[in-house]
């Protein structure tokens, strides 16, 4: 009986592998017919296009491979900023919904309902259009502090750079068209980061609210009986217990956030998907580019899931498992 089951499974695996192999051969033959040599060798070819928003130096003479690296770093940076911000905002909103102050609780609920029921793509576009529509031209930039300027070109900041005399703070300087020097957070980056934060925070708020509510009322009553005030009750009794049920759904939200960052393409932020789209247009290596996108998101998601899983496991061990 068992032998038959194994044989059947082996046959299915073999059939799937064979189908994949057949598909790959077919695609390769079709690509050769169009004069494109299949494979990842093109990653070492000259890209020939420029990317505006980069964390590492890049110009048209660099390779497609480096362009992908630029895209990957942009995806990671916008996702990292949005993860930190949405955890903060979502946590505050989640607790806010449970506040004894009725007005505050209703406001937080209204926020959650509004932001989780409007499509994310629309939110990205709204934030972007507001930013580039309402902000002043670089020549009339708003000063937000010494050497900090906000304009249609983005948020220009001083940034430490290595020079001959050591580490120096490089100031942004207004040129004929826009700022150069220092660091520039572009409206594309800001709108993607902001929209991801606002959207994901609404979901995180619900996760936080649910987990806190799942902690037995009696725990709070016991804490108060011991003489702990509200803040202490939350910090030492409720949140540590809530965290255990919070982490797995939170991990889901973070995975969604990372994958949602691909909507950056709508506002021209050069994330991994945008760079891959341009590359496949230029080089004709569509299948390889899509494969790279899939591999990268899979890897990022698995890393996030592993980190969150590790945190969850450690917490459970520290707290001695479920009561």
């Amino acid at each position: 009986m068992k032998v038959r089951a194994y044989a059947l499974q082996a046959a299915i695996v073999a059939a799937v592998l064979l189908a994949l192999y057949g598909l790959a051969t077919l695609v390769a033959a079709k690509m050769r017919g169009l004069g494109v040599e299949p494979g990842f060798g093109f990653l070492w070819q000259r890209a020939g296009f420029d990317i505006g928003d980069t964390l590492i130096a890049f110009d048209a003479a660099d390779t497609y491979g480096r362009a992908f690296l630029v895209g990957l770093l942009n995806t990671v940076s916008v996702a990292a900023v949005a993860i930190v911000a949405s955890l903060g905002l979502g946590g505050a909103l989640g607790l806010g919904q449970l506040a004894r102050n009725r007005l505050l609780a209703r406001l937080c609920e209204a926020y959650v309902e509004l932001f989780r029921n409007v499509p994310l793509l629309l939110q990205v576009l709204i934030v972007y259009v507001l930013l580039i529509g309402r902000l002043p031209l670089p020549q009339e930039a708003w000063s937000l502090g010494p050497d900090v300027w906000l304009s249609k070109s983005g948020l220009a900041l001083p940034w430490p750079t290595f020079t001959d005399v050591g580490l120096m703070l490089e100031r942004p300087v207004l040129g004929r068209f826009t700022f150069s020097g220092g660091a520039m957070l572009t409206p594309e980056f800001l709108s993607v980061a902001a929209a991801l934060t606002l959207f994901t925070a609404a979901y995180i708020a619900e996760v936080v609210r649910g987990s806190v509510q799942a902690v037995s009322r009696r725990q709070t009553e016991a804490a108060q009986a011991l003489g702990l005030n509200d803040a202490q009750t939350l910090r030492f009794v409720v949140v540590p217990q809530a965290l255990r049920s919070m982490i797995p759904p939170l991990a889901n939200q973070l995975l969604n956030l990372i994958k949602n960052s691909s909507l950056a393409v709508a506002v021209g932020y050069p994330d991994l998907v945008a760079v891959a789209d341009t590359t496949l247009n230029q080089s004709g290596h569509a299948v390889e580019c899509i494969a790279i996108i899939m591999a990268v998101y899979l890897t990022l998601s698995l890393i996030t899931a592993a980190l969150m899983g590790g945190w969850h496991g450690r917490l459970l061990r520290q707290q001695g498992g479920y009561p």
């Binding site: 020939g48 068209f177 506002v267």
Partner: protein
């Protein structure tokens, strides 16, 4: 065996050297009573249907001129709107007789696909659209500027090559969607928008809201010669289309317009004019046409300059300068060999 082979070759070459008088495409057009003309699905100034469903544009006018030459009636044209994916297949399969649709002439298209370009109708090139307040007069002054690009096949590459060749730097903002890139440019997010100059002119006229605030810079950073394409294998039809373009240019050079063609035909004693209009010699015969073919084309759509002015020129919606598309005497490259 060897003699049989020689015999076959001899018969084959004898058959192929039989003169096809006006060409099989022209014969098919006459038999059908209609010229099948492939145009775009809508590019203002080149081929676009107006509010009454009437096709207008330079590429459209050229097909009307051909119908006037071959069928003696400029209205006998069947229009096939084609996307850029469909255009070559439609011509290769024989669905259309001519592709008159803003299509760039390149080596790969001219030699490798069973097609052949008959000449230039309009020489385009990638350009820059800027706001007037930027006070930029030429592309090189855009050093350090943020440039909006719609990612396509060659646009972003041309931009990067131009920057490299001129040792200047741009901050490139790439968008996939045309609406998004226009929104970004007209909001002032970037200081310039780069695309084919004719497309920029159309965007300036139709999408900017205030065309007078924007200007298309004179620089062209890529070569995009657009012209009619025919199938390979019918040299007679190819020659007819090619010389139709030359005749329209020659007419402009000699100052023959739609308005004055009748008077000129009666009064002019310039031998070149008399030849062109079929008064003295018959320049239609080698092409399988009658002697009045140029006269009919001019009556239908006017000379090349008139076609240009009416559809894309300074007085039209697109307001494009004549530039490189002028006759050689005005600094352009629209040169016609002698029609004799």
């Amino acid at each position: 065996m060897k003699t049989a082979l020689i015999a076959v070759i001899a018969i084959a070459s004898a058959l192929s050297s039989v003169p096809a008088h006006a060409g099989k495409t022209a014969d098919a057009i006459r038999a059908r009573g209609q010229l099948a003309c492939g145009v775009s699905t809508g590019v203002a100034g080149f081929s676009a249907a107006d509010s009454k469903g009437e096709w207008r544009g330079m590429d459209v006018d050229f097909c009307r001129a051909l119908a006037a030459a071959v069928l003696k009636d400029p209205s006998k044209v069947r229009w096939s709107p084609l996307t850029s994916q469909q255009r070559f297949t439609a011509l290769q399969s024989g669905e259309i007789d001519i592709l008159s649709r803003n299509t760039t002439w390149t080596l790969g298209r001219d030699a490798g696909q069973g097609l052949v370009y008959a000449g230039y109708m309009f020489i385009d090139g990638q350009g820059f659209l800027v706001h007037k307040r930027s006070k930029v007069n030429e592309a090189r002054q855009l050093n350090g500027a943020e440039i909006c690009v719609q990612t396509g096949t060659t646009t972003e590459k041309n931009l990067a090559e131009f920057a490299r060749a001129n040792r200047i730097q741009f901050k490139t903002l790439m968008f996939e969607n045309l609406r998004a890139v226009l929104k970004a440019f007209f909001s002032g997010r970037c200081q310039a928008f780069t695309a084919d100059a004719s497309a920029l002119a159309s965007i300036r006229a139709n999408d900017s809201g205030k065309p007078e605030d924007y200007v298309v810079l004179p620089d062209r950073i890529s070569k995009e010669p657009l012209g009619p394409v025919v199938r390979r294998g019918d040299e007679d039809w190819f020659a007819l289309v090619r010389w139709a373009i030359f005749a329209l240019l020659e007419a402009e050079e000699r100052g023959i317009t739609r308005a004055n063609v009748d008077t000129v035909r009666q009064r002019s004693d310039d031998p070149a004019v008399q030849r062109l209009l079929g008064v003295s010699e018959d320049v239609g015969k080698p092409l399988g046409l009658d002697r009045e073919w140029v006269y009919r084309m001019l009556k239908a759509v006017g000379n090349y300059g008139e076609i240009f002015e009416r559809n894309v020129g300074p007085e039209s919606l697109l307001q494009l300068p004549r530039g490189i598309n002028a006759l050689p005497r005005d600094g352009g490259v629209m040169y016609s060999p002698p029609l004799r």
